[in-house]
Symmetry: D3
Subunit: 123 residues, 6 copies
């Protein structure tokens, strides 16, 4: 029912390398556009990552939620901010998103545990 942050990172890294080693230009460019969308502009990266988190919540994708929770932690989102963002996702997306709230909080707690131990939270 849950998988560790490390396992997620290794799978994601390995498969992304595999996908980007293909000859398909379209997919490569999409991945580049995806990265760039969260770079600081008129909005901060922190705000953008919260937008990405809420979008992932209401579309109910656990891997995407894991990714954006980690990125939000890296950008300094506080627990209160997390819960307020998740509350909006819950109101917009309904009880069908409750299992994903559980997932998000589980990953958040793992990140906070790592921070207490001064471990780097990498992606």
């Amino acid at each position: 029912m849950s998988s560790s942050i490390g396992e997620f990172r290794r799978y994601r890294e390995r498969m992304n390398e595999r996908i980007l080693s293909s000859d398909n230009l379209g997919i490569k460019r999409f991945f580049a556009l995806d990265t760039r969308a969260y770079e600081k502009g008129a909005l901060t990266t922190k705000t953008k990552e919260m937008l990405g988190l809420v979008a992932s919540m209401v579309l109910r994708c656990n891997d995407c939620i894991t990714y954006h929770v980690i990125r939000c932690v890296q950008e300094g989102v506080t627990d209160d901010e997390f819960f307020e963002a998740l509350n909006i996702a819950l109101i917009v997306g309904g009880s069908i998103s409750v299992p994903h709230i559980r997932r998000a909080i589980e990953i958040l707690d793992q990140c906070r545990e790592m921070q207490k131990k001064h471990q780097a939270i990498k992606l």
Copy 2:
């Protein structure tokens, strides 16, 4: 590809406690509203749980399906009633919901097995 009812219950219980221990009033109230929506009113709880099951099927959330199958069993939904409700979910939601039909029946069979052994089906 499957996880036991017990594993689901423990994870759900642990994470719900964690979520409700936060200070976010909105999320707590949502959880309360969610519970109350299935209480007997003009419609029976049995009918309401079938509504919840079909909604979970067409939105394709395995944890929600697990929860509502168990609740339906507790409310006395028969096998024929289950299959008719799942048939409606299949017609409305299409073949993309077939893996979730498998999941629902797997959980149903686990519940029936427990009932044969006179085991309590708790949530």
Copy 3:
């Protein structure tokens, strides 16, 4: 922002005839299966139509909502039963389904108006 029940019926009827006049057996059989799924079995047609309504609500399809509201009215669903079913759809599906709650109630009110005038509610 709204369209009358009559307009919906005529469009639906005309296009269904057009679709069923094609040579595609698969689509014709799907339409037949769809009709049969709501026939009385272990569950009443009334319960099945409410299942169809809630499924249409959480999947957010206005034409499907219009159809199932009318069918529910024909099967004798009361206002209290409607609101309880819609409440479950709202809890499961979230605020993104609010515009569809509006639609459902608008159609329900049109049906009640027709019933007061002893007009037949046809599909």
Copy 4:
């Protein structure tokens, strides 16, 4: 293909009144929770409305988009901020959300037009 802000507001207002005049407590409480979720807390209302907008974009609900664009304008979201938020919605949600980008910009342009004429943008 488009409807004016005024028409949206009148329909929304009329139907919300109708819905809240019913006896269903669950729905009334959901509406109250929905309103409260966007109130200032650890996150500003402006940030929360952008979260609501992006959630509405990826779930592809035009009425919800219309509502949140108007609320974002009221909270002072700039054009650059709008386009960056919409870009994230587009990347996460894909080309299927392009028609909703069109809708969002159409409403935004109507709001800016009203602001130029010093008209109040009400909901």
Copy 5:
């Protein structure tokens, strides 16, 4: 319940121009990637447009369906091929996609009418 091909084209053209006149590079590049994805490669444009049509059907976006039906007609998709592709969309996506089957056939019929009159089918 329906809108003409011409109305769709004019709205789409006007709003795309508006969107691409903004300074947001991300959105512009996404639009370019989107166009390129359907260009002939290992798969023909005809096959790719059918993939786009079925994707639009199961995601239930009328504007996207309108666009891909027109593109499929331009690429020479026959009526039998259309109905077989729509049948797959119907089986995968379920009865919730029936209103979109109606829409697809309505647009197809408008295109065939234009072809009979030797009118150009533009986008």
Copy 6:
């Protein structure tokens, strides 16, 4: 984060047998219609399986993706064709489908490995 093709096949086979052993005619007929939709007609089975794959990608169902990747391999879809189809799914469905692209490629690579060893790829 991944499960082998063999595990998928055994679970699918076992549960399909269980489901088809029930008395529910509607579900049995749906399964039959589902199979028939991919049979050669005006479109080849290869094209139809690619339509099924893209539909499964944008609806984000890993089991359905696993099934259609295997069927596409059986029908002779080349790697270039796969990546072009996945690129369309990615453009239409957005970054939320990236985890499913990973899944599709993982299954594809397992199939290619089996082909190198002259192992039958069964379903």
